[in-house]
């Protein structure tokens, strides 16, 4: 227990940060080079105004036609993404650990709010899973990797709730919590989770092409 804890909170924590940052940088550079080599038109059609217009619509709840057609999915996905970032960054226990390691701290959520946000993430993942196996058009695109990614994303939040409420076996679950968080961070650059960085570019390009070439809305 003590050795595992020391490894998970020490070298493995740094490794996951390094893989996350280094991997993301690598993916950015390699994707940029690939686009330059194979799809030069992307750079010519890229237009900041059209890009931002499209991004703004897709970042606004119900700001795109597809979101209005699928209202439940829209509510779940927006709540999910907001909770996904707010909960881990501002949960009290994490901010205390920041103070311990780096001597900095910032505002914190109340325990109740953090608890609810974490459950929002877990239930959203269950919703996404159900959607992936029940809707034919989504099922058609689903591979086992998508399911594994959903589990990896849900794990830190499910175990976080577990540990916070001190349910049976919570000391071991604390280790699973930390480890699953590190795993989630480390796979971001190499999976579709990388859309957290790529989203402005893919959306921006589609917006540019629709705005500048097709003269049509893309939302």
């Amino acid at each position: 227990m003590y050795d595992i804890y020391a490894i998970i909170t020490g070298p493995l924590a740094w490794l996951s940060f390094a893989v996350f940052l280094g991997g993301s940088l690598y993916r950015f550079i390699s994707l940029y080079q690939l686009a330059r080599k194979k799809d030069g038109a992307v750079f010519q059609y890229m237009n900041l105004a059209y890009a931002l217009r499209s991004i703004a619509h897709w970042l606004t709840p119900f700001g795109a036609r597809n979101m209005r057609l699928n209202p439940v999915m829209t509510v779940v996905t927006f709540s999910f993404h907001i909770a996904l970032f707010i909960a881990p960054l501002f949960v009290f226990a994490h901010v205390v650990l920041l103070e311990e390691s780096f001597g900095i701290h910032w505002i914190t959520l109340s325990d109740r709010v953090a608890d609810i946000l974490s459950m929002v993430v877990v239930f959203s993942c269950i919703f996404f899973f159900a959607r992936r196996i029940m809707r034919p058009e989504v099922k058609y695109l689903t591979t086992w990797v998508d399911i594994v990614i959903l589990i990896i994303v849900a794990a830190p939040f499910a175990t976080g709730v577990w540990v916070f409420h001190q349910w049976a076996g919570f000391p071991t679950m604390t280790l699973v919590h930390i480890l699953s968080g590190e795993l989630m961070l480390a796979i971001i650059p190499f999976t579709k989770l990388f859309h957290m960085f790529l989203f402005p570019f893919t959306r921006g390009y589609i917006g540019s092409e629709f705005g500048g070439v097709r003269m049509a809305k893309d939302w």
């Binding site: 003590y2 804890y5 009290f92 409420h165 001190q166």
Partner: protein, 130 residues
């Protein structure tokens, strides 16, 4: 006295008999610096000073925790049992006492990790009332 009142009194006496020992039990916990944390976010840690030090073999080693620093340097042979940790480690106007909390965590968990003995996860010390 009617039966209901007698039964009620009996019930109160039994409850008191059951509850009182559990209240007095908490006297064992050393409530270190409790008043300094004006905004309590976690169940307070029950640190049983004498029992802990006997188990850890620290009876003669008070200065390990009750240390003294002068101009940023540890004074080897001096201890500070008469002072509260918060006198040096607390920050004014911080209801959550982040710095003091970090100091406690580093002191307790750091030692437990080093000795491979004692609790290290959050909930193992900050136990929720059952």
């Amino acid at each position: 006295m009617n039966t209901t009142v007698r039964q009620l009194i009996l019930l109160i006496l039994i409850s008191a008999g059951v509850l009182l020992p559990s209240f007095s039990f908490s006297d064992d916990c050393t409530n270190i610096d409790e008043a300094t944390f004006t905004e309590k976010r976690r169940p307070f840690v029950c640190f049983i000073h004498d029992e802990h030090n006997e188990k850890a073999g620290l009876e003669e080693d008070c200065a390990l925790c009750h240390h003294t620093y002068e101009e940023g340097k540890l004074v080897a042979d001096e201890s500070s049992e008469d002072m509260a940790c918060s006198e040096c480690h607390a920050k004014e106007n911080d209801p959550k006492q982040f710095e003091l909390t970090a100091t406690y965590h580093q002191r307790c968990r750091g030692c437990h990790l080093e000795k491979k003995e004692g609790p290290i996860t959050c909930g193992a010390c900050h136990k929720k009332a059952k």
